[in-house]
Subunit: 483 residues, 2 copies
């Protein structure tokens, strides 16, 4: 959309690097204009594009009720109101940093320790990533990122800072694992183009894969970073959402135990409470850097996105309740694994596989066999059908810079059980209908082989009929069944 | 301070443009290492460099106690916990934007109206200024700012965005008023240097002057902006802290009533709750732009510094209580005027004048007559004495880019009455001692005239003796009296 007055803006503000004009936002628009509601709009679009954790918020709500002293707005806590309302030190409340450092260790099973003096606040992981980009690279310099990767990194890391993200291509044949060969290839490729590589950015657990990075790979990355004097930024915002084996390994643990010789000045962790706790509204992003100069610079930059002191105060109390946190993390994992199992087994019933994941709030769904052809265009065609006709806002792999078409990220922790069952039901119907059409089309094609004398109708070829766009019409029984 | 690992940082992060290595931070360091406390450290440094409003927080605390439903952490409000904790729409809670728009009108006496759809959140006024810089200008382009101006604008507007701030020189002879001549001179000067001027940035009420911009000047600015197609950013974060006549006029009112022909796409207002409410910890910054494209771009950028939804929820309820807000603003003004009167009349008792102010949390104190000579160096000498020996952390005019030496900003709303009296007492003692020394020095000089045959001791010249550095020793009675 072109606004009046846009000619008066800066190049950055007037440009499209924020990513919101991407066609991938069509799914969100479809959801926004017709959101599913269990009671009031059962025909609406179900939001499966939002990595949000609604499964365990009741536990936090309960804790909050039992701890009125944690709020500065209750009779029990209001004596702190003035002090907290006026608190603007960008170091943050000492008790908040202390509790956060302790909690970050607890989330990682006590296998790494965190120093409160290295905890820097920012406006969510969004702000944390941007701050690190500003701290670590100059405009035009680059970070390498294994694909598929979180699409908003392009906005978070690049839009205002002017740095570049360059892909490290990963592939399904080895479950999208990041190999040294792929890393070296991306690094060398960038240098051949004259681009200065300043670092590597990974998500561990991975968004969108829902997998974790193994210890050897982390050690390889830290070693590579040390040898090439490039930074290693590990976004660990799903560290508390690992719900099955293999056990989670944080870079914090690896540099303590496995590669103690690595250059810690190059290692930085991003954390947040948005995913593991389901508190994105609270805007808590954390930069944890082992580099003193980065801690100092990031803290200065944190003035642009400090956490509300009201929220710091509340969280300081909650996070330092170790018994509650232990119970919360345990229960949250149980609920995540149950949801994950139900969803992926539901998909298996109709022959849909997912990458084997053990973390996160989503699955990386393999619909390669449903593509008309192995192209990004075919993936987007299928995606539009899923969004507009199946009415599920899932996210296509291409939006994650995945080079292999046919993968989709499907979030399933941002809804209740019943909504998830509706979503699964829609997928079942869709797949069965797709199969029936394919069978029909194949029969038709077989018959056509017998009528070779007839003129050639390219637009009725079997390939066309198996195109997802042809599968459903707005009047299809499946769509009506849900309205 | 040089950190290990700093060579691995970006140029911006490793540089000094954040301003914290400026010598002006010495005053803060002096305060931090020895903070005054009425009961426990009466010899400490009193913080008068912090424009913080502690005078009326008890009213908000009281409101909070009486409105438990405004907190999502009380039995009365906890039913909203899940919805709010999960709320991450960067438009903000609709009720928050609505209440903020209504409140912004109320603060301006109902003489301007604000549209909730133009209210964009940011991380304090700090984040708001940076966001506008990113939106309105490219690196290397400039905004003109009348001097003296808030020192942290250099960080907020320039550090990460790369834009420049160029001074519009204002002078004491006309009470530092911004004239069209000064504006044109700065504008033409910039253009002669080949610098592209993208806008004008003012604070109204002015920080540090404590004065307001009159209607004619605002109309002149809007007209100039329209004629030259440059932006006009009005930082109005002290709009609710105008405590005496003349009445406050907002740019919002001027473009509605006085210059309706101006190009509104160029007009932007910054607001915050940090000053008028004394809630800097809550990190509420607001960008209110009349330009649709800026609203859209700034909203996208607000992802880097959203207000915590917990805080949005609380404030939405408080700000929409119009009766309370009316009472609060009235009472806050009464307390501000009382404090201002007591402080400035206390200064007058020892012959110290201030620029006649009617707004803000500070006074612009005139110590020109106490300077050894009319230079920035002499101002800093005097300042160091005030900080280290008088033990008041006031802010020297040079730190506000004031070209006329001898002015100091003194904050007086961030302390209780008793602390302010201690501060006044110290100033009284200091001035009297300064006067006594001067009289002695003059007598000595007169005597010296009679002993012309003696050798010349340059280091004992009267000028030297009247240097503030010579006035006090750590053992001076005044310093001990306060310990």
């Amino acid at each position: 959309m072109a606004y009046q007055g846009i000619d008066l803006l800066s190049t950055k503000a007037a440009g499209d690097d924020h990513g919101e004009n991407s066609s991938y936002f069509d799914g969100w628009k479809a959801y926004d204009t017709n959101p599913f509601d269990l009671r009031h709009n059962r025909g609406g679009v179900i939001q499966m594009g939002l990595a949000e954790n609604q499964l365990s918020l009741d536990l936090i709500e309960e804790w909050s009720k039992n701890h009125p002293e944690a709020s500065i707005c209750t009779p029990e806590g209001v004596s702190q109101f003035k002090r907290i309302a006026n608190f603007q030190d960008y170091h943050g409340l000492p008790e908040f940093r202390k509790a956060m450092a302790q909690f970050m260790g607890q989330v990682r099973g006590g296998k790494a320790t965190f120093d409160p003096d290295r905890v820097v606040m920012s406006g969510g992981a969004t702000g944390a990533q941007e701050t690190l980009a500003f701290c670590l690279a100059n405009p035009g310099e680059a970070f390498l990122v294994p694909t598929p990767y979180y699409p908003a990194f392009d906005r978070d890391c690049c839009w205002r800072s002017g740095i570049k993200l360059l892909p490290i291509e990963c592939h399904s044949f080895n479950d999208f694992r990041l190999t040294k060969e792929a890393l070296v290839s991306a690094y060398d490729g960038a240098r051949r183009q004259g681009i200065s590589v300043k670092g590597i950015l990974i998500t561990n657990p991975s968004n969108p894969l829902g997998t974790i990075t193994d210890r050897d790979t982390l050690a390889m990355l830290a070693t590579f970073a040390t040898e090439h004097r490039v930074h290693l930024v590990c976004d660990e915002i799903y560290a508390g959402s690992v719900f099955a084996t293999p056990e989670y390994v944080s870079i914090a643990e690896v540099i303590e135990r496995d590669v103690p010789w690595c250059n810690r000045d190059l290692i930085h962790v991003v954390y947040s409470l948005s995913k593991d706790f389901g508190l994105p509204g609270f805007r808590v992003g954390i930069i944890y850097s082992y580099n003193d100069a980065v801690v100092a610079a990031a803290r200065r930059m944190s003035s642009f996105g400090l956490v509300s002191s009201q929220t710091q105060y509340f969280l300081a109390r909650m996070l330092s309740d170790e018994e509650f946190i232990g119970r919360f993390l345990q229960e949250s994992k149980c609920r995540l694994v149950a949801r994950h199992e139900r969803f992926t087994s539901g998909l298996r019933e109709v022959g849909i596989g997912c990458l084997r994941g053990n973390a996160g709030l989503f699955s990386w769904m393999d619909l390669r066999r449903m593509l008309r052809e192995k192209t990004a265009e075919a993936e987007l065609e299928l995606w539009r059908v899923i969004v507009h006709q199946v009415k599920l806002n899932v996210s296509p792999g291409t939006s994650f810079h995945c080079r292999e078409p046919g993968w989709f990220r499907v979030c399933h922790a941002n809804m209740d059980d019943e909504t998830m069952e509706v979503a699964l039901g829609r997928i079942h119907d869709f797949v069965r209908q797709h199969q029936q059409r394919r069978v029909k089309a194949e029969r038709w094609a077989a018959n056509r082989q017998l009528r070779l004398s007839l003129p050639h109708h390219h637009h009725l070829s079997p390939a066309h009929l198996s195109s997802p766009l042809a599968l459903l019409s707005p009047q299809s029984p499946m769509v009506r069944a849900t309205s």
